[in-house]
């Protein structure tokens, strides 16, 4: 295979339709990449990622710069592609519960739920009340853990590593809770079509309350260290601005949309589980910049804690089974049909389109990760005109999760 010598990736990527270049698939490899003399210009190209501390996950943004101003950006995914959607078509319905959480490492719980809800809908399974409350508990814990992780990452992009250490350390307390009630620290694999897999251990709600109190008591510290930190405020304000109109036009959801002033949250506007029985607010900000997006998440922490406190109060009064009876998973034919389930993950609207042809395995599972919007087209658009040092911050403020895009 001849090495591609003269074409930059930008030129090349436009030429994929050209049959002559069809086989030059290895042009991205370092061994095939020849140094070239740039035309006399102040423009240059930079591979931002896939291995860069400023990048969330293995992902790349290939940017064309003039000085330190981004002229053009191209998102480049695939580094985390594991073919989940294809794999799911080859696995039994139940086996996929172990697969789906891996699609989003920082916030795996909504993945489990969304898939389980789809199977339940196709099978007409009625999830017992108690399981629904336990699921809410899991989801909100996961949201807190994911946000703490994101703050840490975001802070690191502006050089504030202490916040990152704190965030990761405090998230660990939530992982302890996950370990206790789901059996897994990161991938809980707690949901199963029909309900959940485990009853709560004795005294769990007490420990949950203690952890919530602790996390809440830490928030002022975070505020001091990060959210009120003028370095952060000045860096984040006005960075990566997106108007509400743009957000809607670009299909942005979740905290990123709410940071433009639109109070839309799947939990409230397209409710699932028992969210319609819970009291919580939908924090919004108006300015639509990195600062607003981060602040929305900061406020959501409080809402999640609020929801969890309600769960702690109500759960002891919800009795009954935690799972609807399901067929032997080795011989489970899900009735033919299709469904589109939708939940609010920490990053936005997460949807699963699941099709069954009546067989023992899904016929098609389409994962619509929220980041597939804001980590590709939106990121590309928002990066243009920004400065090179803000790219990472923009990306983290969007909370782009590359595995959701790659699947």
């Amino acid at each position: 295979m001849p090495a591609l010598s003269k074409a930059s990736f930008l030129e090349h990527s436009h030429s994929s339709a050209d049959p002559k270049l069809k086989n030059k698939r290895n042009d991205m490899r370092p061994e095939n990449y020849e140094a070239q003399r740039q035309p006399p210009s102040n423009e240059y190209e930079l591979n931002f990622g896939p291995n860069h501390p400023g990048i969330e996950g293995n992902y790349a943004l290939k940017v064309k710069l003039h000085g330190d101003i981004v002229l053009e950006a191209k998102a480049d995914g695939g580094y985390l592609h594991r073919g989940f959607e294809k794999l799911m078509e080859q696995r039994l319905w139940i086996q996929n519960i172990a697969l789906v959480p891996r699609i989003c490492v920082p916030d795996p719980s909504p993945m489990e739920l969304c898939y389980s809800m789809a199977v339940e809908e196709l099978c007409g399974l009625k999830v017992p009340q108690r399981a629904q409350w336990l699921r809410v508990m899991q989801l909100e814990l996961s949201r807190i853990a994911a946000h703490l992780f994101t703050f840490g990452g975001h802070a690191a992009t502006t050089g504030m590593y202490s916040t990152m250490y704190w965030g990761v350390a405090d998230r660990d307390l939530l992982l302890d809770l996950f370990e206790e009630f789901t059996g897994g620290r990161v991938y809980s694999i707690y949901n199963i079509p029909g309900g959940v897999r485990r009853e709560l251990p004795d005294g769990f709600l007490q420990r949950l309350t203690e952890t919530l109190d602790y996390i809440e008591s830490r928030l002022p510290d975070y505020d001091n260290l990060f959210f009120k930190n003028q370095v952060f405020v000045k860096r984040a304000k006005g960075t990566g601005v997106m108007s509400r109109e743009q957000a809607l036009e670009w299909g942005v959801t979740g905290p990123n949309l709410r940071a433009t002033g639109l109070a839309f949250d799947v939990r409230r506007d397209d409710p699932y589980l028992v969210y319609d029985q819970l009291e919580f607010d939908i924090p919004v900000e108006e300015s639509g910049d990195a600062w607003a997006r981060t602040l929305v998440r900061r406020k959501e922490l409080m809402e999640s804690i609020r929801i969890l406190r309600q769960v702690v109060e109500i759960l002891p009064d919800i009795h009954g089974p935690i799972r609807a009876p399901i067929p032997n998973p080795l011989a489970w034919n899900v009735p033919a049909g299709e469904t589109y389930t939708r939940v609010e993950s920490s990053k936005g609207e997460l949807c699963y389109y699941v099709v069954s042809n009546g067989g023992p395995k899904p016929y098609r599972v389409h994962v619509r990760g929220p980041s597939s919007m804001h980590a590709v087209q939106v990121l590309e658009k928002m990066s243009v005109g920004s400065r090179i040092e803000d790219i990472a911050q923009t990306m983290f403020s969007l909370d782009a999760c590359p595995p959701e895009v790659d699947r």
Partner: protein, 189 residues
């Protein structure tokens, strides 16, 4: 969604020829339309009913019917309802129109579907490879592509030979049902 809005939407959808509307729940509507009527439908939904959010485009390969199904999930922030518009297109040549002009998120989904299923969306801004940059095989999400067979052909299983296994083999035991046989084969008559 109120009763009124429901009626209004139903009436609106009747304007499209060959349309079939099924209300699956209070917030989910399934619409089947002929492929050529989809842009008009989306335009109608977006322009007159507030379905401004394209949540996703899903593709299903119905290989036995020799068709692809494309499903456009659109959400209305006003009605709080999600319409899934289903169309079928011929598997060959697998060409359809882009809806990028109506919905910008379509750019990503169409690119993804192009990469995974090989469907060409005319008018879509970017049909470049994104995820499978180094892949020159067939579009992998197509049903005829057997990824397990591909893996078995191109990659090998990790071989282990721990002491306990050597001891069992010396005793006359050892590996009887390797996992790949359990998974990939079924007893033949």
């Amino acid at each position: 969604m109120t009763q009124e809005v429901t009626h209004w939407l139903d009436n609106l959808l009747k304007e499209i020829e060959g349309i079939e509307v099924r209300r699956k729940s209070s917030r989910r509507v399934r619409v089947d339309v002929p492929a050529d009527a989809l842009p008009a439908l989306l335009e109608l939904l977006q322009g007159r009913a507030g379905y401004i959010h394209l949540s996703a485009i899903s593709c299903v390969d119905w290989i036995d019917d020799d068709e692809f199904e494309l499903v456009y999930h659109v959400w209305s922030y006003e009605n709080h309802s999600l319409v899934s518009a289903h169309i079928r297109i011929a598997r060959e040549p697998g060409v359809y129109l882009s809806v990028y002009d109506l919905y910008q998120p379509a750019g990503f989904f169409e690119r993804d579907i192009h990469e995974m299923y090989g469907i060409q969306f005319e008018g879509s801004p970017n049909m470049e490879k994104f995820i499978l940059t180094e892949w020159d095989g067939p579009p992998p999400m197509r049903k005829e592509f057997d990824s397990e067979a591909y893996i078995n052909e191109h990659l090998s299983w990790q071989e282990y030979n721990p002491e306990w296994l050597q001891e069992l083999v010396a005793e006359g035991g050892g590996v009887i049902i390797p996992p790949e046989e359990q998974r990939f084969s079924q007893k033949k008559k």
